[in-house]
Each structure stands twice: as C-alpha cells, then as structure tokens.
Symmetry: C2
C-alpha cells in the first residue's frame, strides 16, 4: 500500500507539492485552533478470520492532513504547523508476505513531517491533544486510553475535540487545488464507468452484470468504489444494494455508482436509463420532470445561495411537473408547503462531496448544518443533509428524484394524508416508473458553478443513444 | 440481502432441502456436545462514516448452521436439535432505504427454526450457552456481556466454548452434499475468472486491469471475492495486494484469485502466466519444476495420507527439480532435511477450504492441527497450516511455488546458511522468475481425490494458448 500510494502521490505532481499542500492545510488549521492534534489513520477489520481482512480505508480526517492512506499510523500536529509522524518500520516478515514498503523516514519526507517516531512513542506524547475518533470501535477505545478521556463517536464530541472538528469542517467545506485535482479524477472515472454500464445493459441479463461492467472500469483505473453501488430495477428503494434481479426490456435501471481515487477522494453520480434502450412515453414524461428539477437547481447554484433554497427549488419544479402531468392536483406552492412532493421525493437534494461521498458525515450535522441551524421536523425537509449558504470551492451533489415507494404511498393512513392532492388513477398510468434519479457533482465557483461530472449527458435522447451504442 | 439470499437459497434447491441440510448438521453437532449454543451472524463495519458500510460477511460458523447471510441476527441451538431464531423485524424506514426484506417468520421457515424471537429476547436466553466469538471486537464485547463471561478471541477459547469449537471442527473438516454443491459453484466461477484474466492480459497495461477483468466475472455471477485478489508481476511477495504496476512482456503474472458464493463458500486458485503469452526458457524450466511438484502432490492425495507428507513430497520434488536445473547442489534428501527448499518455497503446501478460504482459521490451529500436534519450529515446516491425516470429503488446496524473495536470499547471514547448497551464478540466470505458484482445490474422495478446479489447465502450452486466445 505504501509503495502504491507513494507512486500515486508522485504521479500527482512532485513530492514537494504534496508536502506543500499538507503544510498549507496545517497552517490554516492552526489559525483557528491553538492546541495540538493527533489523528489516527485506522486499522483494517477482519472479514471472516484474522488473516483475511476487509479492504483498508484510512480515516478521512487523517487523509486530509497526511495525504496518503497509510495503515496503522498516526500524525501529531502542533501550532503553528509542526507535523510528527508515528509509524512502525515494516518487519522482514512484512516484506516476505506483503512486499517492500516505504520506510518511516521516506514517508516523513513525502508528507513533510518534521520528525518521525515509532508508534509506541505516541503514548507519552498524545496527552492533551485533540482528536476525532475513528470509525473502528476497538481503535476508538485505544484512542480513549491514550488521551485519558472517553471518546464516544465523531458525531458527539465535546471540549477541544469539538473545537477541532469545527475547525476541520471550516477547512474541508471548500476544496484547495490538490483536492480538486483528485475530485476531478474521480469524476472522470465515474463518467467512464456509467458509459460502460449503459453500453453493457442491452447485452446482459442481470443487474449484477451491469454493476460488474461498471466496477471493472473503476478497479482497472486503480480506484475504488466510494460507496456500495446501486444498480437496480427497483429504484424506489433508495439505498438498494441488491443486484440479483433480472433486467427486462420494460424496466428502468437506476444506477448510483461513484469512484474514489487511491488517495480517497470521492465522486457520486446517478443516471437512470431504459433497459431496452428506449424510454416508454410515461417513463420519458417523468424523466423530463426530474431533469427539469435538476436543471433548475444547477441554474441556481452560486456562492451565497442557501442550499435549502435549492432543495425547495427542486421540490417546486418537481411539483409543477407532476401537476402538469395530472398526477398532482392544486396550487404548486401549496402542495410544496404541504410536503406532498416528499411522498415522491423523500430525500434531500444532495450533500457535500470530498474525501467522503457524504463529506464529513461522521461528524453528524456539524458538517452539513451551519452553526445554530437544526434539522427541520418537516417531512419534506428532515432528510436534507446540507443547510448552509454555498461558498466558492464547495462541491455538492444535485440529485432530484421521483419514486413510487410502496411504504410511502400504499399505507392507508399515508394515502389519506395525500388523498386530496393526488390523482391516483392518473398515477396508476405511470406504473412503469418505479424510481428515477439524476445526480451530478457540482463545484461552486466564483461566477456560479461547474458540473464536474457534466460530460455524462442527462438528455433522454443522449442516454438512449449511449445505451444503444 | 435477505431477499437476495432467499432467492439464492431457492435456486439451490427447494426450501426444504436447505432446512434439511441444516437440521442434519445440528443433529451431528448434538451427538458430540450436550449444551446449548448461540451463534451471532455479525454486523457491518463502517467504512469512513456510519452510513457508508463495508460489505457484510456473516460469521462462517453462523452460516454453517443458519445457511444464509443474515445481518445482525443470532441463532440458539439446543440438544437434540432445536433451532431458535433471534431477529428484529425490518422497519418501514428500512423498507424505504433498503427495500423489502424477509420477515422473521419467513426466515424461520426457510432455515427450519422451531421458534423465532426479537433480538432483545436473546439477553434472557443466551446464558449458559457456548459460542464462538465473531471477528468484530465491538460485537464480541456484547457477546461477552450476554454470556456473562469474557470472550477473548476465537483462537483462545476455553470451557464449553472450546468444546463447541472442537465439535464444529470435526463437522466442518469434511463437506456434506449441500456444502459441496456450493464449493463446486465457487470453483467453476473461479475457473472462468482466471480464463478471463488470461484472455485480458495481452490487451492491457497494468495489473489492475487484469484484476478488474477477473473480478468482473465474479461480480457478474453475483459472487464475491473470497479474499483480496493477488494479481502481480512481483509474485515473490506472497500476499501482494498491490495492483498498480505496469505489466511488461518479459514478466510473469502471478494470479491468486478466488470466488465465494453468495452463501459464503470459497474457492482458491493460483495460476502464473507469461504477460507476452510465451514463457521464456528459464521461466518454463522453473514452471515445470513447480508443476511436477503440484502433480506429485495431487497423485498422493487420498484418505489416510498425512497432509504433512504431501508438503514434504512437494519439498522433495521441488528440490529434485532445482538440483536437475543446477540451482541446488547436493543430495535431495539432505537438502530437504536442511530446509534448503524453504528458501525458495517459504510457505505450506496448502490448507483446508470451506466457508473460509483458510477454513476455520479463526479457531487457530485447533482446525488445522490434529489434537496433540503442534507447529514445528523447522523453517521448512512452521508455515504449514494443516497437519492432519486426510479424510474423504475434505477440500484442501495444493499450492507449491518457487520464489526469489530478496529478504530470504539476499541478507548476508541467510545467504551464508545456504552458501554450500546454492549455485548462485546458475540461479542468477533465472532472474526473470520472481515467483511462480500453481494452486488447485482438491477434494479427497474415497478412492483418492478430485481436482474440482481442474478444468483450468496447468500445462504451460495450454496456459500460453489461453493467454494468446
């Protein structure tokens, strides 16, 4: 892993530039906080026995300041910008089984550490530092022991840990050039994966085969999946990770697949395409409603705009479209105020993207919500993951959707709530639309925004063309 | 996951046959032990934030008695064969986000449970049962709490837990018809993946692309990788999980990739092929030595034969071949007694295969070593994972190899040890051979053995043909 990541770091530019990027991040951090910080990279979990590990994913906060996915390593940073590396040297046995890896001093040079120690030294030097707990509960307990205080989870921090998390959020909310280079690489790979998925669809019989064709592209480019791929003819299930179903000509395939670079930067893209290569008239009608919502949101993205207003824009445009189709009845504004759209669009318009596909979601709403704001109780707003004014340099997803979710539409009490607003007979004519989502990764720029996954078309004719190619 | 696995279970035969298979396993278990047993399926680990999980793998001991990979579920078994299921019903929110899943009663019927409870009931009913700790340390602590005793790890059990583990080992050492059907499916998929890897090699530039082409086959068949794929031009690194290197015409590609069925049954196959489609004369010479060791071992596999003798057979045949090539000097028997072969073959000839690719390795040497036997201190034997007489129904890997490992051959003190036995000048002529391994999955039968991955050729001409196809 070390050699691999070193090699990747080199292809990203000179070694100096990685160390420089990291130095600038530390300097910015220590303009906001005045205490030392320890961050652990994390360890691998065992799959079914200790020698068979699940793939390693370094903690994103560690990655942000240490740059490369080193296993079982820690860094300690001290104001105004000192970096200490804690890492054990690989043993001869490591070399026999896992290959030559970078030595401690080589890693130190690569990431611009001022000094490097074995891991055991951390016990005497971690005390009084702030940290963010890793995801692995066992390592979290070790962190607690080393810091002499109990760490519960990254989403319930207090004292200097909360101050650290708050400062990190301010930093990671917008992306520097080093981050953007990686995010663009992830986006480009994801676009290729979707093209491969579309091209494969008419030649295969199961969801699993489309998924395989797409992940093939991602693995071949030495990247990983940023999250478990959704490739499903049951798009109404929002996080459907099942891939066993047959795909049939009348089906829509909802595909939410994103690559993550070797250094950990994510992308997140959804397209919905007809298995046959041709949308039915009803599918195309709804698809165009979702696309108009997508386009209306993108047109609105700019610095200073409230992300919640973009969500409400999606709700309004979707509702307008559904009224036009005769599925909803009444005044658009009133329908949105009554959250009727949320029966068909039961999630937020998107989220931050960065080192995590839902960036910094380990910190709970500290990342997504401006200080002082809280999640709404409203059915149409409670799933919103991001409620901040947009800033230049933020990367957000824009992902409106339309779904016919049985548990939302078919239970008698829920059905009653929407009784007066929905034309159920008209809706029944759209039974070949289970779920449609269109999702792009959108960079907020000084002048508005740039869709960094925009090379992948959203126009239904273009989608059909790619499926038939 | 539930729906998927139920669907798989159905395609494996009728629901009755799964329940029947499991019932027979319980009956056999309770001929050996007379106390109740609780087994947990396990939970998913978070990747970088709680909502982004690593893929789920159920505990193999749970799978053996519950058949399907249910998440966060437990079973309690009582002599002479009662089965209780502990499982929470999916919530409406689960349905919205993850889709419809089987209800508790449906699962109970599928696996032949006599009665089913919510998970919370387990707290009052687990007491005085034996168990095997899962891999996840956090869940392991919950197991400890529920059983009112401290569970350290599956490899250091005592009291009824040790007795349970010992009984499970006796059961899982040999495979019943249900297990064999799955193992053959995994083997067949693995053979196809290797063919795809060979066919892709001449058309791509990086290890990662060959890996992707192979995992594509596995994912497309709705299977998983049984372990992290090894696809490397540095085959001398035994567990090399890096895939970033370019593959060049003079290189050998060592490929150790195996599929695991959706129900968790593994396969484990290695082939080594020339990137150019043609072995160099030196590569072919060494390849033939490894192949002769492979063939000599297979010829020997039969009930009653000591697996350690098969390992020593590999050592002898390899040593003989290396003497013939002029790389080693001296008497074959003496060379093997001095472990000279182990400088080039520093691992055991193989291991058990079943629900785990190293079957039951979570139990330490309780699974691989006959009671009363211990690991040898000898350099040439200490890596042996299996030291038992073979029995009909066992599935083992046979995987001899030849490697030029710098850390074994190049350090002055080690070099001195082998000084008189190795012709270093002659060895230097084989510098284009970094590592070669040939591995098959071999079922011990009443009359000898059957190579269940034997459809994938080992002959160098056939390998060249597949790479050039």
């Amino acid at each position: 892993m070390l050699t691999q990541t070193a090699s990747f770091a080199e292809t990203n530019g000179s070694r100096v530039s990685l160390a420089d990027t990291l130095r600038k991040r530390r300097q910015k951090l220590f303009k906001m906080i005045k205490f030392p910080v320890v961050l652990w990279s994390g360890v691998r979990s065992s799959r079914n026995f200790p020698g068979n590990k699940l793939p390693f994913r370094a903690s994103s906060h560690f990655l942000y300041f240490a740059g490369i996915p080193l296993e079982n390593v820690a860094i300690r940073m001290e104001p105004p910008g000192t970096l200490e590396l804690y890492m054990d040297e690989p043993s001869l046995d490591d070399e026999l089984w896992h290959g030559k890896s970078l030595l401690r001093e080589e890693v130190a040079e690569l990431i611009g550490a001022n000094i490097a120690f074995p891991m055991s030294e951390l016990w005497s030097r971690a005390y009084s530092s702030a940290t963010i707990p890793v995801q692995d509960v066992y390592l979290q307990q070790q962190q607690s022991n080393m810091l002499h205080r109990w760490l519960y989870s990254a989403s319930s921090l207090s004292w200097i840990d909360w101050e650290l998390a708050y400062a990190i959020v301010q930093l990671r909310l917008t992306h520097d050039a080093g981050a953007l280079a990686e995010l663009r690489k992830a986006a480009a790979c994801t676009v290729q994966a979707h093209r491969a998925g579309m091209a494969a669809t008419r030649h295969v019989r199961f969801e699993a085969q489309v998924r395989a064709a797409m992940e093939n592209v991602i693995l071949a480019q030495q990247m990983n999946c940023a999250y478990n791929s959704i490739v499903t003819v049951h798009g109404e299930v929002l996080h459907n990770e099942q891939h066993y179903r047959a795909i049939n000509p009348g089906d829509l395939l909802l595909v939410d697949v994103g690559a993550e670079t070797a250094l950990g930067w994510a992308s997140d893209v959804t397209r919905t395409w007809p298995v046959s290569g041709k949308f039915s008239p009803t599918q195309r009608d709804i698809y165009e409603v979702v696309r108009s919502a997508h386009d209306a949101c993108i047109a609105k993205v700019a610095p200073g705009v409230e992300y919640k207003d973009i969500h409400l824009q999606a709700a309004t445009t979707l509702t307008y479209g559904l009224v036009q189709l005769g599925i909803l009845k009444g005044d658009v504004e009133e329908l949105v105020e009554n959250d009727v759209h949320a029966a068909f669009f039961p999630h937020g318009i998107g989220h931050l993207i960065g080192l995590d596909v839902h960036d910094m979601e380990d910190l709970g709403d500290l990342s997504g919500y401006e200080l002082g704001r809280k999640r709404s109780d409203r059915f149409g707003l409670k799933f919103l993951r991001l409620d901040r004014p947009l800033q230049s340099g933020m990367l957000v997803s824009i992902e409106p959707g339309f779904y016919q979710v049985p548990s939302l539409l078919n239970y008698p009490d829920r059905r009653e709530t929407f009784q007066e607003f929905v034309d159920w007979d008209r809706l029944a004519q759209f039974s070949d639309v289970r779920g449609i989502r269109i999702e792009n990764d959108v960079l907020v720029t000084d002048s508005g925004c740039e869709v960094i996954t925009g090379e992948l078309p959203t126009h239904p004719d273009a989608i059909e063309h790619l499926v038939n190619s």
